[in-house]
């Protein structure tokens, strides 16, 4: 086995894991605070990608700058979705929530399809072509920057949750929704913020990925499933779990691509998902049900 | 041969001893009260008996047969039925349809099950509300429904978990009458209850649990006078009342 290939795959997977982590953190935040599973997560990320593409193609803004705008746009979108739709079904049976978000996913994916067409798109960044060599292994500078920015965003999110009032309210609501209400937390506001922040994470993640990978409207489903994978592996509602899980899954996929054929790497993800669902649905960091 | 024979029943949750080496037996036709302060492990005992939890140690013999390891539905079929402390009606079904689901266990044909269900609904006094949706019933009626469902499985032993909880005085009296009638009809009853008057009135014998262990058993009068029971419920100072 060609060790450089393995090493390459490991590094590449690790770096890409930054994005996966950011994506998963957004999903787990929404679930942790609101107990809602965002089936439209991957499709929101795709919209992050397309927004970055628009900014780049129409306004010449580099995605590594524009990602902030994408995050903001998705934040607003998340707020809207939460206030307009999700809020109404917070207490409904889970099946209803799933179907609602599935509906949102369908709309997002197909509006993108109608607006942007089915062909894969890619965003050009001046960094896209640059590479750096470390010994026999080369790294795309773009991947490095993506990783760095994703980590920065995750750190910022962490600070937000730990230091700000709103962030602390979110964590309180995640721990004990009823208790949070009792002490006077404006739960509606916290929910809206959580959904918004979760969407912002995934919007940023999308923008940061756009220079690295081609994407199309139908990419949404795969990204949603990957997000669920990561969040389940890491533990639903656990932020450290999502973070570690993102890197883990990315590396696993990368190794899957190295050792099996690239198209079969999805089998690795799904196989892993099934195994976790069956044997440890609480995930690595989650609490096992009593 | 006794109807129910429990020996050495033990259940731990992590480091917590929920039920400790419990011995218990019931004769056919008996009404046994299971009391104890909150957290004593009473509902855990029910869960162990009915198969919702498996014991770490101990034996449970129902009608001579070892039922440890059987699933709840199997135990129900053998003749031990239970109600839940927090009632669980099927909210989208009517009262009679709720009971019909239970009756189907003994009468697979829908028509017979419906007949049987109607009879049970009358028997518990819900006849007037037979067609009402279970989701819209009052608490007292929901308790009756819970009882009716368990009855419809034609048990020989009925486990009632705090069937009086949340009821007012009149409703409690009615429920006591109902349970007495059921027991008089030949069904043995094991009941968990906090309402002391009801327990004392209904039970032939009482077992008292505290922190998972049996601290007393006997007739209602014996148990009421037992200082260990008074201590468990009210604290030590009530065994020797404080000087004024």
């Amino acid at each position: 086995m060609d060790l450089t290939l393995v090493g390459q795959g490991l590094l590449s997977g690790f770096l890409f894991g930054g994005v996966y982590s950011l994506m998963a953190v957004g999903l787990t935040l929404i679930f942790g605070v609101m107990r809602v599973v965002n089936f439209a997560h991957g499709d929101m990320m795709v919209w992050g990608m397309y927004l970055a593409w628009l900014l780049s193609a129409r306004a010449g803004i580099d995605p590594y700058v524009g990602f902030l705008a994408c995050a903001a746009a998705l934040f607003l979108f998340g707020l809207l979705i939460q206030r307009g739709l999700v809020e109404r079904i917070v207490d409904a049976p889970h099946e209803m929530q799933i179907l609602l978000m599935l509906g949102v996913a369908l709309v997002l994916e197909n509006v993108a399809l109608v607006a942007f067409g089915p062909d894969p798109a890619r965003v050009r960044s001046p960094l896209s072509q640059a590479t750096v060599w470390i010994g026999p292994i080369f790294i795309d500078v773009a991947r490095l920057v993506t990783f760095g920015l994703a980590m920065a965003l995750t750190a910022a999110l962490w600070l937000f949750l730990a230091r700000t009032d709103l962030g602390r309210s979110m964590r309180a609501a995640a721990d004990n929704p009823y208790g949070a209400r009792v002490i006077g937390t404006d739960v509606r506001k916290v929910y809206a913020a959580a959904f918004g922040v979760g969407a912002a994470c995934v919007g940023a993640a999308g923008a940061l990925v756009s220079p690295i990978l081609p994407f199309q409207p139908t990419s949404g489903l795969g990204l949603s499933v990957t997000s669920f994978n990561i969040v389940i592996i890491g533990g639903m509602g656990s932020l450290p779990g999502a973070f570690v899980g993102g890197i883990l899954v990315s590396v696993a996929e990368s190794m899957g691509a190295v050792f099996l054929s690239p198209s079969m790497k999805e089998l690795v993800s799904f196989g892993l998902l099934i195994a976790i669902l069956l044997f440890r649905p609480a995930g690595l960091f989650g609490k096992t049900a009593g | 041969m006794s109807l129910l024979d429990v020996s050495g029943l033990t259940k731990r949750f992590g480091g917590l001893l929920a039920v400790g080496s419990l011995d218990l037996s019931m004769a056919k036709g008996e009404m046994l009260g299971l009391i104890g302060p909150n957290g004593a492990g009473k509902t855990t005992v029910f869960n162990l008996l009915s198969g919702f939890l498996s014991p770490d140690e101990g034996e449970i013999r129902f009608d001579g047969r070892n039922v440890v390891g059987l699933k709840p539905h199997q135990i129900c079929r053998l003749g031990m039925a239970r109600t839940f402390q927090i009632v669980r009606p099927f909210p989208q079904l009517s009262v009679v349809d709720n009971v019909k689901v239970a009756a189907l266990a003994r009468h697979p044909a829908m028509a017979h099950a419906l007949e049987s269900a109607r009879a049970v609904v009358e028997r518990v006094g819900l006849g007037a509300r037979a067609g009402a949706l279970a989701g819209g019933l009052t608490l007292a009626d929901r308790k009756r429904l819970e009882l009716a469902r368990a009855l419809a499985t034609e048990p020989s032993l009925l486990l009632l978990d705090e069937v009086m909880a949340g009821l007012n005085a009149t409703e409690i009296e009615a429920m006591v009458r109902l349970v007495t009638t059921i027991n008089a009809g030949g069904i043995s009853v094991l009941l968990i209850e906090h309402n002391m008057r009801a327990v004392m009135a209904l039970s032939h014998r009482i077992v008292v649990l505290s922190f998972g262990e049996k601290i007393s058993s006997g007739t209602p009068r014996e148990v009421a006078a037992d200082r260990r029971v008074i201590e468990a419920y009210l604290g030590e100072e009530y065994v020797h009342p404080p000087q004024a």
Binding site: H94, G117, L273, I274 | H73, R88
Partner: protein, 315 residues
């Protein structure tokens, strides 16, 4: 009510002699998707186990029948049952894993999606079953090979499937199995305490549902003459399957049929009207909006609401 239904069946049976080929094709899809929806309804509607991977059963059924026909010369009329059986086997595996391990709600949905996607990826990559190109069925027009020259023959087969599945669901509803399913959907633990073997009942529902869906796969294969892994195992087909009973009324006999009569024409209209520039996407936007609307305003689906309206009772 019964008279009305009988009349409707008579009208549907007579219809092909009065309308053109395009409308017949639309009706075929209405019937076929109603059939698939009805099959899903057993486990998704009545038992309340949301499966978003039912396309896997269509795919397995279709591929099995097609391969048996091409390589073993087995008539699809027989291959249909084998395909259904294989689909039922997968259904049993998924059901057992899901139910035995206590997966509910979101986790169960994900399990079904995972299995469907695994099937899809395998079908895409294994050349022996056609790989990325999929399978093509040679047109012979031979009824023994489940092929008909006349569109109207397919119409009657599809109609028969829909009516058959509906009759099966109606029978379930009026027997113990149906009562148990409905109860399990509402409170499983209570059911266990009442002597119901919930694992067994749910397994039966899953196996029956997947079997019927697999049988439908044969119709799919021999009506469309091609099986593409992405189309026949993919999420879009699973969505098509579940949206009709959900919009029409999950857990009701008429729900999937009503849903299909609402959704298929809608899909057709949005597909053909916005064909220029539009791409396939638009009818799925409509689906998405409908799904959202149903969840928010009519969670039980159109049929129960319609029934209340017709009987004049308040909601």
């Amino acid at each position: 009510m019964k008279l009305l239904l009988l009349l409707a069946v008579v009208v549907l049976a007579a219809l092909p002699w009065f309308v053109g080929s395009y409308l017949i094709t639309v009706m075929i899809f209405i019937f076929f998707y109603a059939y698939l929806g009805q099959a899903w309804n057993i486990v998704g509607g009545y038992a309340g186990q949301l499966s978003a991977g039912h396309a896997a059963f269509v795919g397995i059924g279709g591929y099995a029948a097609a391969l048996l026909s091409a390589h073993a010369g087995l008539s699809p009329w027989l291959g249909m049952w084998i395909g259904g059986g294989l689909a039922a086997l997968l259904g049993a595996v998924i059901g057992y894993l899901g139910f035995r391990f206590g997966l509910r709600g979101f986790y169960f949905v994900l399990l079904t999606v995972a299995f469907a996607e695994i099937c899809r990826v395998i079908a895409l990559n294994v050349d022996a079953v056609g790989g990325a190109l999929g399978l093509y069925i040679t047109f012979t027009g031979n009824p023994r090979q489940f092929q008909f020259q006349d569109n109207r023959a397919y119409y009657y087969v599809a109609l028969a499937l829909m009516l058959g599945a509906t009759a099966a669901v109606r029978a379930i509803e009026t027997h113990r199995f149906g009562a148990y399913l409905t109860a399990i959907r509402q409170d499983e633990s209570a059911c266990e305490a009442l002597g119901i073997d919930t694992l067994r009942v749910k397994m039966q529902a899953m196996v029956l549902s997947s079997f019927l869906t697999g049988v439908g796969g044969t119709f799919y294969a021999f009506y469309l003459f091609s099986l593409q892994p992405n189309a026949v195992f993919g999420i879009p087909l699973s969505v098509e399957i579940i949206i009709r009973p959900i919009v029409g009324g999950a857990g009701t006999v008429m729900g999937p049929i009503l849903g299909s009569f609402i959704l298929s024409p809608l899909a057709e209209i949005s597909r053909s009207y916005f064909a220029q520039g539009g791409w396939n996407g638009l009818h799925l936007i409509v689906y998405g909006v409908l799904l959202i609307a149903v969840v928010l305003f009519l969670p039980q689906g159109a049929y129960p609401a319609l029934r209340r309206l017709l009987r004049g009772r308040p909601a």
